[in-house]
Symmetry: C2
Subunit: 217 residues, 2 copies
């Protein structure tokens, strides 16, 4: 029942195809009304037990933005060291556009999550899954509105929590760079740069038991 | 640049508004071509370091489906016990449609994830965030195609991993009930049933520091 029109379905698949993790931005400001629509889209996401664990901190203080970039730069260097033989290759990649993007947001898990047991008794990490769904909504909506976004996870969460004066139990999970872009990458930047390749879908689908890749239909 | 047409943008926000976590299904089969499109949509999701950690197991064996439902039922009872004073209220909720839905999928984290360090040195759980983005893509695409989906996280992940013969290191994170529905709930079922209420967006947005809720614009 209630299948959408062909035009609407095509639009949805198009935005999924054209969404990119952006690290290059133009400094132009983001229209506040558009930003509000994007955050409202995030808030339409599913959440485990309807707990709505997402919180968004909008960074408007320039000095704070620089401090956040400094945190990320420290983790970038630490990651390069951990990567060993791919260290140089990693250091050549642009991994964030924190200082350039029009809007900087931090997405976080709220505090007090231990009170929410529905769907989390054996899988407490479902709260993060809910926040990720919210971020994906925001990302798709941004792309349709002509804005790029990048999800940066190169940071020490405790240090970032301190910087934003988060209460005990809250945890930042994403630094979101949002803004106008000159153009969207035609493919994932990490693919264009040769860091990794996209795998054929068929290799990721199994039937009844793991690694049983017999034809699905 | 490259803002989508008004029609396309409206379609995207519409599908986010109308997506629901469904637990009531019609038994009609899902068109295999549609299923393939939905899984391809999932595979368009962003992933940390382009690691593509998602795997999908399609359950076509009827006996296996019953075993999965038995696992969920056991966890439903255990959750009710953990909920204490809300136990009876919880037990009255319909939490899954595993035996009724046209297609049953299990979404899982792949094994061997420890090799992927990019974006995960301090936040290893970003792999789950990527899988959640893939599931959200699938969910939105299903809604546009006129199909309902429910994400069930009431299960013991180790028991489900054993049932699907998953290798060490792989982990199931979602039982996805997918299929035709008589109608989509007009609001989240847990809201209609009085389990929880949606919160105003403004309460979830802060500026620069936590709990600083001054106006965003």
């Amino acid at each position: 029942m209630s299948r959408y029109s062909e035009t609407e379905i095509v639009a949805l698949y198009r935005v999924m195809h054209e969404r990119r993790d952006m690290r290059h931005f133009l400094p132009d400001p983001v229209d506040p009304q558009v930003l509000t629509r994007l955050l409202a889209a995030a808030h339409l996401a599913p959440s485990v037990g309807l707990m709505q664990p997402w919180r968004f901190v909008r960074i408007t203080d320039r000095a704070l933005r620089r401090e956040i970039q400094t945190l990320v730069e420290a983790e970038r260097v630490a990651t390069a060291e951990a990567l060993e033989e791919r260290s140089d290759e990693f250091m050549r990649l642009k991994v964030e556009g924190i200082l350039e993007c029009g809007e900087l947001l931090v997405a976080a898990l709220m505090d007090g999550r231990e009170r929410h047991v529905f769907g989390r008794r054996t899988l407490p990490e479902m709260d993060l899954a809910s926040v990720a769904c919210a971020i994906q909504n925001l990302w798709l909506a941004a792309r349709a509105e002509g804005l790029g976004m990048g999800w940066v996870s190169l940071f020490d969460p405790q240090a970032l929590a301190r910087l934003l004066v988060m209460p005990e139990g809250a945890k930042p999970v994403a630094i979101l760079c949002l803004g106008h872009v000159e153009k969207f990458y035609p493919a994932p930047m990490l693919e264009l740069e040769g860091w990794a390749q996209r795998r054929p879908l068929q290799e990721l689908l199994f039937q009844n038991t793991w690694d049983n890749t017999e034809e699905l239909t």
